[in-house]
Symmetry: C5
Subunit: 319 residues, 5 copies
Amino acid sequence: MIIDCAVYRDGTREDTGQHSDDLAAALAGLGEDDFLWVGMNNPTGDEMNRIGTVLGLHPLAIEDALEAHQRPKIERYKDHLIMSMRMVSYSDDDITTNEVNLFLGANYLLTVRHGGPSLVEGRRRAERRHDALSHGPTAALYSVVDTIVDRYEQVARELETDVEEIETSVFSAEPTSDSTRIYRLKREALEFRRAVVPLKEPVVRFSETAEPPEARPYFRDIADHLGRAAEAIDTIDHLLDNALTAHLAQLSVQQNSDMRKLAAGATIFAIPTAIAGIYGMNFEHMPELSWPVGYPLCLALMGSACVYTYRRFKKSGWL
Amino acid sequence: MIIDCAVYRDGTREDTGQHSDDLAAALAGLGEDDFLWVGMNNPTGDEMNRIGTVLGLHPLAIEDALEAHQRPKIERYKDHLIMSMRMVSYSDDDITTNEVNLFLGANYLLTVRHGGPSLVEGRRRAERRHDALSHGPTAALYSVVDTIVDRYEQVARELETDVEEIETSVFSAEPTSDSTRIYRLKREALEFRRAVVPLKEPVVRFSETAEPPEARPYFRDIADHLGRAAEAIDTIDHLLDNALTAHLAQLSVQQNSDMRKLAAGATIFAIPTAIAGIYGMNFEHMPELSWPVGYPLCLALMGSACVYTYRRFKKSGWL
Amino acid sequence: MIIDCAVYRDGTREDTGQHSDDLAAALAGLGEDDFLWVGMNNPTGDEMNRIGTVLGLHPLAIEDALEAHQRPKIERYKDHLIMSMRMVSYSDDDITTNEVNLFLGANYLLTVRHGGPSLVEGRRRAERRHDALSHGPTAALYSVVDTIVDRYEQVARELETDVEEIETSVFSAEPTSDSTRIYRLKREALEFRRAVVPLKEPVVRFSETAEPPEARPYFRDIADHLGRAAEAIDTIDHLLDNALTAHLAQLSVQQNSDMRKLAAGATIFAIPTAIAGIYGMNFEHMPELSWPVGYPLCLALMGSACVYTYRRFKKSGWL
Amino acid sequence: MIIDCAVYRDGTREDTGQHSDDLAAALAGLGEDDFLWVGMNNPTGDEMNRIGTVLGLHPLAIEDALEAHQRPKIERYKDHLIMSMRMVSYSDDDITTNEVNLFLGANYLLTVRHGGPSLVEGRRRAERRHDALSHGPTAALYSVVDTIVDRYEQVARELETDVEEIETSVFSAEPTSDSTRIYRLKREALEFRRAVVPLKEPVVRFSETAEPPEARPYFRDIADHLGRAAEAIDTIDHLLDNALTAHLAQLSVQQNSDMRKLAAGATIFAIPTAIAGIYGMNFEHMPELSWPVGYPLCLALMGSACVYTYRRFKKSGWL
Amino acid sequence: MIIDCAVYRDGTREDTGQHSDDLAAALAGLGEDDFLWVGMNNPTGDEMNRIGTVLGLHPLAIEDALEAHQRPKIERYKDHLIMSMRMVSYSDDDITTNEVNLFLGANYLLTVRHGGPSLVEGRRRAERRHDALSHGPTAALYSVVDTIVDRYEQVARELETDVEEIETSVFSAEPTSDSTRIYRLKREALEFRRAVVPLKEPVVRFSETAEPPEARPYFRDIADHLGRAAEAIDTIDHLLDNALTAHLAQLSVQQNSDMRKLAAGATIFAIPTAIAGIYGMNFEHMPELSWPVGYPLCLALMGSACVYTYRRFKKSGWL
């Protein structure tokens, strides 16, 4: 579905009809440096084909825009290029990605997204930069891409916060079951990486040949932001790996401490049990049995043995 | 065995005889942009030699087509190239690969497979694209390769589903023996990777020099699909690694919890046993023994000690 | 805030006013090889814009200098370059990084830091090398960068000391909980690496084209120091990884030894308990019970069984 | 020791004397495309020097041929090249490597091996290809190298069989001590890799410049076989890594199950022991003691408690 | 301190005075292909500055020679180069490295070491090769470097021996605490690697441009030896990693076996204890108690229960 459609003359927006005839007419009427900006969401095959005919898109590029699981890339065709990206959003340890395909021609920009958050923020950013916009659609492309990449860095920061939560949990005193959450975050980081990393190299190459040349530092800047996001993901991934190993070590320490408690407990009870066993024997000649103080003495012996053993274990850190 | 054989004139199929004399005659009678398409399955050495002589194949290329464990590659000889691929199918945690060798000459395409699913789907796809087919055998090669590579992505998706099953099992409450299945899937992912990854680089290079130039974006698209499949395999591999480590962590957590139960159980029983031991002693002067309420009191003491200990352990999470 | 500002004529400092008009005048009055050196700390957007206008900085470069989480890099614009670095300080297992942006133009050096230790040390080093300073701002840039990079090596040495502490703790006899500290240090090493490693490649490239050519070996030397620091971080990281695995092994050894103690203890107590149980049975015909030496003999038997078992376990290393 | 020596004229063998004078004479009498083939085994320094003088070998090349632990490589000198390889054989989890040095000049091939299996198979293969052999010594070199590399693939297949044995053992029900064998195989795989991998790159480069050009596809084919062997070793290595981790997981599962059995066993015995303890107490007023059915009832109680507990544990999988 | 100093004319040594004036005179008096060889040990800053002035060394090169923790490298200045290496010695699981800096000019070689073994062996090797030495100082450099690199291979072999000791210990029956030694060796291997690996690339590059060209194969040979040493270190590192994991697996196996012994022991004792408990009960009507054979029968029952259980556990491998 076409959700927005306008012609930019000297950087100023003029709304236009959304029918393909209107678009063809609009295209025909463009002066130098003017351009057409069309925004689509969840286009059907028909819609894509119609707009593809108007703009003269390559059949494979149209196919790419319809497929939902494109790999992030920049593909150049004879007179246009397609930039496939993923928008990323994150909530509750869950990363959602939505594909966006951006078609850049000499005098048009077509943005095609499959669900996900609106790109209107990118359009607004572009429209604030009148001057740049008056030099053609590349500045508009920059604004959209910049908006999406900014979001990458924000999501990376949110992931970092979650990693910190996990660290706190892993190194708490109790045996926790953090492996589930660590695994989950690693999974999300993997998906995030697949959205970010494949894009960096093509953006660098694009930044070297983008037209007009004034736009190049801007795309270099985007490549830089992508590099930063990729680095943050790497760090997150490493930290999660380390957290998992540390988690294993913590569990081992915990188990050791539990085993020592078990051993200490068994020993403490074993001594009075052994003494009781001895005085429960039925020998006829057991002088202690007839002592009046035999029983209290025996209890005292048991008690002190327990207390003594307990203290020893306490002191040596086993209890 | 030759299983299919036809001449394509202006993109339209004409069946032809399968004897090598027929093939030589067919080749001789081809006009510009016409081509011969021969499909073989499990060829014997004799058959390969005969067809090799007709088409003028290099002896090493013929040898490659007969050997079953070829590495995926594109090898260029003076006037033809050989593309070795593996068809992949997957069921019950088991990946099966079958080798296919595709010989592309100026006016012929020879497909040689060793068992495995039929390539007829690829042929049908090609025949639907009359126009492309009328420019020579490259379009036919594209259709076959595209069909095979599509299958890679499907298998990758099936593997991903199995990984999700494993995740559910690993993070379930019970101590499971998932390592066997994780190992098995890792093994299959390795085999899958060996079918996919070595092909990417040569296809990229081929896409830069393929003739006619109109075919190039199509092979670039295949390289892209291969890249996506390779990336999916990487992700699967990483997830399985992580799942195995998480599995170890889960086992450790489980063991900790079992050890605590053991310790708690031992302690609960130790107390009444110790009390019984005490009142089983044979001292003459044990006043409690002659109290009428001695026995019920003692039982009550034992009972409350058990209940108290049980509750303590319950509260602290040891039971 | 501008915290220092001077003109260097023939390598000699002359203080100048800090207002942007003063700076513009100072710039205008510079002879060949003279240059202006401005130092800022925590600049506001306004301040950066003002100085950017005076020096003719690119808008993106100004933006970079204001953002706090820049990736270390060297970015070239038409008539100046920006070098983004991080100063590193370390105390109590905690690495703090502060960003510094260095703008090098033909006749100025602008240093912008965000908090952190003062760069005055670098300025002093530069002023000691009159001769080099008289050839333009590159020598001043070298001194500042050299000071920062020296600090990297010092921090690496401090980290190495901490790793040695951890090693001592890991291989001590007691089960320690070193994983927390190992994790923490790995985290810091990661942050450290992010400050150091991305800078090496750009500095190498800069060292090949720096003007004047006499400055090149000096920047090559800095690249070398960066390489050394990066190598030290790699070593630290590897050692920490190994220490963590060794820690796990030590815990396993410890647990084994504890389990053996538990088993040995249980066995030692089990024997007298079993004997006591036997003579506590109520059979009418148990001749030992009426032996006068029955009881002492029994005690002796229990005692020697305990001693014997204890010695056996001691000898086999279980206790 | 020279173990074989012959001149090949037009691809046909003519035996010749083995004395260095004979060799010098034979060399002098060679026509274009004729060549001398000398095979040595365990040469002494003297022998190598003598033959080196006759053939004009570089002193360093002679030294290399004498040293036993050469790294696989192709080294070019002014008018000859040396190819250092390792022959590999495998039995009983043990890989043995023997060094072979092949000297290729314009009109001679010198093969020097240090023990290990005979190269006669390679010679026979070469002699079968009369036609190729009539174009000079490169075809002879190809045959020898091809024979050695074929052996790599065979050894790789044998290793794969052993890995499968290990897998069966690791995933069997009993706790096995597979780590020893896994370690051993990893060690052998490492040694194997050192024989195979360093050779690939030089062979690829050699295949691009080999003379006569007709030989090039053959060496490309060898590079391909090396690539396959290297890939197989990688797979083996990965599988062994995974098997070791899976082994650890299996041990953990086993230990968990043992601990549960221990806990269950302790609980089953603890209940009758506690009951016996209670009725072993000496209270005067214990009505059950004088009941005629007291004892059988008590035994029944004990028995049913045991059976009940046993069944509970059985059902929950602890026993 | 200058420890040796000589002029080589036509490859023959002539001692010369060690004062800097002597050196300057000696330098001035050199014919073509003659050169000055100066050896220093632990030079002070003054000494280095003096000799640097005589030989015309770059200030940064002098600084490098004084700093003790240089990274191995080859640095080219306008008319000389500096090669920084580390000598390596190994004893008692401990690798010691000493830095050597070699300055090669057109007509001099200056070797500067910081402690460590003497380089006299390299000098002697050089002096044996009169012919090479008569072509300038490069041959002398070769001899010194060759001597140092030979030592790398020897140390690698010693490390390999130690790894074999560890393997024997890890796979012995007893639970050993090998992790300490494995860690230690890994640490040393890391240090060793830092001495060897960074040198390889620069030596390869040097071998391609060394003068005179006859020297090139010799430096290529050194690069080859470095490659071999680096490969050996890699192997050692991998083996140690694997040994550590195998060690963990062995500990797990050991712990499993101990736990089974504990469980078996507990069960063996639990049965007679339960029986004794039963006949220690005070029921009035326990017919067995008054049987004359009651007691011996009971003992026999206990004994056979113990023997039976013991045999069962023995058979199933738990004991």
